[in-house]
């Protein structure tokens, strides 16, 4: 993300529909360029429309639902299961904070219920998703031909987490008491104030270790598309910001035009000293 934000402004390469257009245009994929002399008018754009669309896309994978329904049937539970586990973890941490610092909080019971709902549904969906994705990758030649060891490893890695979590809750901790104790321990550097803590189990240990490793591993892989999708959409697919005189885009372009390319084809005429501006302003030296 840091690298991406430091890259130079790129040329426009949007593709329609662009979701921050007004609702009446988004409906059919129209743009502000449909208006005569648009540069003299105030642009009507709605970031709310963009976020609304993006939220549904990231949470429910709307694009796959529309374009590739059979894959969505396994991809959605996989992704939503992961999101629910992140939600369950945040709820566990909130629960731990309240238990430690707010005596007799009225929010503890509702939180307990939410943890159980998010945890159970996340684990069940995640297991269905992992098994389904693994089956699809192995059985469908379209996917298999493009799958590498890493693709299978990634699914297996996540599957280990979901499976061990499922075994843990089925084997004696259906109310996530162990997870609550672990969350409290994270804040208190190991202590627990819970009245009942189930004994540690291999499955519980595996689920905690695998979850911790996944939190580090996912951002390093292409699986980060779950949240990097925001940049793919917002910064490229929907980046239709016009270059207005004296505006920030123009300033960034002027900076880019000073860069010195080194492309070697003869018609380019780059020598490492000429800038993009120099090269774009001159005629190519080549036979016609």
């Amino acid at each position: 993300m840091v690298r991406l934000s430091s890259l130079p402004v790129h040329v426009r390469w949007e593709v329609y529909p662009v979701q921050h257009e007004t609702a009446s245009r988004v409906y059919y994929g129209g743009s502000y360029m449909e208006e005569s002399d648009w540069w003299e008018k105030k642009q009507k754009r709605s970031l709310f429309n963009e976020f609304k669309y993006m939220a549904v896309e990231i949470l429910f994978i709307r694009g796959l639902f529309k374009e590739n329904r059979t894959l969505w049937l396994v991809s959605f539970p996989f992704h939503f299961g992961l999101y629910l586990m992140v939600a369950a973890f945040l709820l566990l941490m909130l629960n731990a904070v309240l238990a430690l610092f707010v005596e007799g909080s009225i929010f503890i019971k509702p939180l307990d219920t939410l943890i159980i709902i998010a945890g159970w549904s996340g684990i069940v969906l995640g297991n269905i998703g992992c098994a389904g994705l693994l089956y699809r990758r192995l059985s469908d030649p379209e996917l298999r031909n493009y799958s590498s060891f890493t693709d299978y490893f990634n699914i297996m890695f996540i599957f280990i987490f979901f499976l061990s979590a499922l075994i843990s809750i089925l084997a004696g901790d259906p109310f996530f008491e162990g997870a609550k104790a672990y969350a409290t321990g994270l804040i208190t550097m190991g202590s627990s104030f819970n009245g009942y803590v189930p004994g540690s189990s291999i499955s519980g240990t595996v689920s905690i270790i695998s979850a911790s490793l996944l939190a580090v591993y996912i951002p390093l892989t292409h699986m980060s598309h779950m949240f990097m999708k925001y940049f793919l959409y917002h910064s490229v697919k929907w980046d239709d910001a016009p270059n207005l005189k004296g505006g920030p885009v123009e300033k960034a372009i002027i900076k880019n035009l000073k860069l010195k390319p080194t492309w070697k084809a003869s018609h380019i005429g780059a020598d490492g000293r000429k800038s993009w501006l120099d090269i774009a302003s001159e005629a190519p030296e080549e036979k016609s």
Partner: protein
């Protein structure tokens, strides 16, 4: 077939049999056994031709191992530059995002008309060439790539791999339908565009029709048609005479009018292939009392910018020339005529290239014409266009610019029998001639285009007119020169004028045809006037 198979030794990696192609309906079943004419061995003996049944680039085979090695090294040097801001600030961020985040879900394949029409040939999957580039990049450019390649997907790199990849980058029309359906937002069309750039900007490899006879000719002579300024003026003079003869309307086409409101940029191909389009624009602008001009300066009378498809530097040079001509003419805005790629090139892509007084406002002719029609300045009789009309959506105007409704608003007013294609608008299918294919005809490439990349469009056209009487003339409105070229070729190849009475033309011709001021129709069907 796997992406790594691109390195496999084979005389032809992918062959398309007639039975593989999506069948055509009545009365075109006799075309279902047609296939691409085999390449003549003597013509291809010294060039790379082992990808499929056609050749678009024609890379000369290497003389020996040294040449092969140098070729591979030069490719890798270019690949590295694609990921450097000094060399590729134009597309660096989009490229990195698309290279790093593909989930390989294959949703893009189902959206690609070439893949679909070929009967699902693996090499035509939008992800195929992207994955080849991704694997080469990871293995040969990224640190530790040779070890990690065994885990992330391996590929062999040799002369054949690279030469086939160059050819393969000219089997995608850059319609970007795949990009619109990708749930992650990956753009395999963009990766294909970057592959073409690498070959052109580092290795000087590009189809001669779009480089030597395209952007180079345009920058040196003034137009990719080869027309010098004097020839352009002669052509327009001829068009003025033709218009008076055809429609009975005397038209005056202005040149180099300083301070005009509008500089109209036509694809110069229109002047030669479809002069009535240039004439129709003039009739409309004259009738509406618009202050406008053409430019007679080299490059200024040809809106095309082939660099859009393969080379950022050539692209920039042409865009700067267009903008500079408009600046010196002191026009208020540039209006792009009926040329899709020129629309996208100068309006959208060049928007982040032109600064200061070169940043002249640019507008689509669809919008200008919609404005004129809505203003009521033209007297129109839609019944003069009382024949079925369908609209082809040029990808560059519609999917890449979001200009969807203006042309439809016009058609609803002037074409009572307007029929939409399915799908249409931003979900449209390419004419098959996008990204330079319409002008590429070396070896047997035009046949590959007509049989494969334009096939979906032909099926769409037939479907749009499926309920119409066979003997009634039908009009495919294609407001883009390249699209018109492709549609002309499919109508001709499949004998659709004779069998289904399908004709084609632009939007302005339909407008002029409905103008009550015209004494005679501008549109005729096989010599038969469209109205009496």
């Amino acid at each position: 077939m796997k992406p790594s198979d691109i390195s496999r030794k084979s005389e032809c990696l992918c062959h398309v049999e007639p039975a593989d192609l999506t069948p055509l309906p009545f009365p075109y079943e006799d075309y279902n056994d047609r296939t691409i004419t085999a390449l003549k061995p003597d013509k291809i003996k010294s060039i790379e031709s082992s990808l499929d049944d056609t050749v678009a680039v024609g890379i000369p085979k290497p003389a020996g191992e040294e040449e092969e090695k140098a070729f591979v090294e030069r490719f890798l040097a270019g690949l590295k530059k694609l990921f450097e801001k000094e060399n590729n600030w134009t597309f660096l961020q989009p490229l990195i995002l698309s290279m790093e985040h593909c989930a390989k879900c294959q949703t893009c394949s189902q959206a690609c008309p070439v893949y679909e029409m070929s009967g699902g040939k693996d090499i035509y999957r939008p992800i195929f060439r992207a994955e080849v580039l991704r694997r080469i990049y990871r293995k040969y450019i990224k640190p530790g790539g040779k070890i990690s390649a065994r885990l992330t997907g391996d590929i062999d790199l040799n002369w054949t791999t690279i030469a086939r990849l160059a050819e393969l980058s000219y089997r995608c029309t850059l319609c970007r339908r795949c990009a619109t359906v990708c749930p992650v937002g990956v753009d395999n069309g963009l990766i294909n565009h970057e592959i073409r750039k690498l070959f052109s900007q580092e290795m000087g490899i590009a189809p001669k029709e779009i480089h030597d006879k395209g952007s180079v000719l345009q920058l040196s002579k003034g137009s990719s048609t080869g027309m010098i300024p004097l020839a352009a003026r002669d052509s327009v003079e001829f068009i003025e005479e033709e218009m008076e003869e055809i429609t009975g309307c005397k038209v005056n086409i202005p040149w180099d009018v300083e301070g005009a409101d509008i500089l109209l940029l036509h694809n110069a191909g229109e002047m030669l292939a479809w002069p009535e389009n240039v004439g129709a624009f003039a009739i409309i602008f004259q009738a509406a009392g618009i202050s406008w001009t053409l430019s007679s300066e080299a490059v200024g009378y040809d809106a095309v910018n082939y660099g859009l498809w393969y080379d950022d530097v050539q692209f920039s040079r042409v865009a700067v020339r267009h903008a500079d001509i408009a600046r010196r003419l002191r026009v208020k805005k540039i209006v792009m005529g009926e040329c899709g790629h020129a629309h996208k090139a100068l309006t959208v892509i060049a928007d982040r290239l032109l600064t200061g007084d070169l940043n002249i406002p640019r507008e689509s002719a669809m919008v200008t014409l919609d404005n004129i029609i809505s203003s009521g300045k033209l007297k129109l009789d839609p019944m003069r266009n009382n024949f079925p009309v369908t609209l082809h959506d040029p990808c560059n105007i519609v999917r890449s610019m979001g200009i969807v409704e203006p042309q439809r608003r016009i058609l609803r007013k002037i074409a009572p029998l307007f029929r939409e294609m399915t799908p249409h608008g931003v979900d449209n299918y390419c004419c098959g001639g996008g990204s330079g294919f319409a002008i590429m005809s070396g070896y047997n490439f035009s046949e590959w285009r007509t049989l494969l990349s334009s096939r979906k469009k032909f099926l769409q056209i037939l479907d749009a007119f499926s309920g119409e009487p066979e003997d009634m003339p039908k009009y495919v409105c294609a407001p883009c020169s390249n699209c018109k070229g492709s549609i002309r070729d499919i109508i001709s190849y499949y004998d659709a004028e004779e069998r289904s009475r399908i004709y084609y033309g632009g939007l302005v011709e339909l407008i002029v045809n409905a103008m009550t001021d015209m004494k005679k129709p501008i549109i005729s069907f096989g010599g038969e006037p469209s109205w009496a």
